[in-house]
Amino acid sequence: MAKRTNEEWIKLLSDEPDEVALMELRDLLDRGLRYTLSSRLNTNLDAIVEDFVQESLLKIINKIDTFRGESQFTTWAQKIAVRVALTELRRRRWRDTSLDELTTSRDGESFFEPKIMSDPNPSPEDRSTRSGMIALVQNLIVEELTERQRRAMTLVMLQGMPLEVAAEELGTNRNALYKLIHDARVRLKKKLGEKGMTPEDVLSVFE
């Protein structure tokens, strides 16, 4: 592949993209995705890499105005290809998992729901036991988090739903979803502190 500066890449791929440059970028993405996916997937890469590369090239050309030149252009293009590939692969993985779990019970699913609270105010003695500590943490979750925060944590942290899928479920985007869960974590940590406890204290009960 010809060695080009960032400015040369931008010039060649803007407006009417140069065919040689486009083909070289296509080869770079194809080679990189095959290299990294070969160790992650046990499937025929030909069937999926071509689609990922095509979608990535479209995104790269459409977003080329947003490239700020703070890395190599090719690295910037590769990060877009990684996002395209992993977003689709996570959706597929989740689809398979979800189908499996339709046939099984999901004990953890209702963990964040108020109805399973067994002891909302465990005594200091109870806190030294595992069940007492579980009750304390559940109590904090139910009292301190909003319903939306509980739902987000259930989907992402308990069920392992991909962030993009969970964001769609909640009518938001990945960034806002991360912030929603971050606010919940900060609040829980603060409230735990107000009870004179650190995360290490809680974890020590389970050791």
Binding site: E70, W76, V82, V137, H182
Partner: protein, 100 residues
């Protein structure tokens, strides 16, 4: 394939009673949650802010720079967020792919 393997595993678990009891499951959840709280900082950056700079970060790390020195907030996010960590690791892999 993953679907079939998971169904076989579930069947074996049901057969031998190895499915975690609800109490054990609750313990796992609490431990996972509290470990996340342990790592929680008041100031964190979110996924898209990380995505904006992950190409720069990956180049610096692949050149041998120390992650905690070049962009500590990005490094912290990658510890917390498995999705972004996976994207970073895959990008590093791609940077190391040999030219044709």
């Amino acid at each position: 394939m993953a679907t079939i393997i998971n169904r076989v595993r579930q069947f074996v678990q049901q057969l031998f009673g190895q499915t975690p009891e609800p109490e054990q499951k609750k313990e796992q959840i609490v431990k996972g949650l509290v470990k996340a709280l342990d790592l929680t900082e008041e100031r964190e950056i979110a996924c898209e802010e990380v995505f904006e700079v992950i190409d720069q970060y990956a180049e610096l790390v692949s050149q041998g720079e120390s992650p905690d020195k070049v962009m500590p907030l990005v490094q912290h996010h990658l510890i917390i967020c498995g999705h972004c960590r996976e994207e970073f690791e895959m990008l590093l892999d791609m940077l190391n792919a040999k030219p044709a």
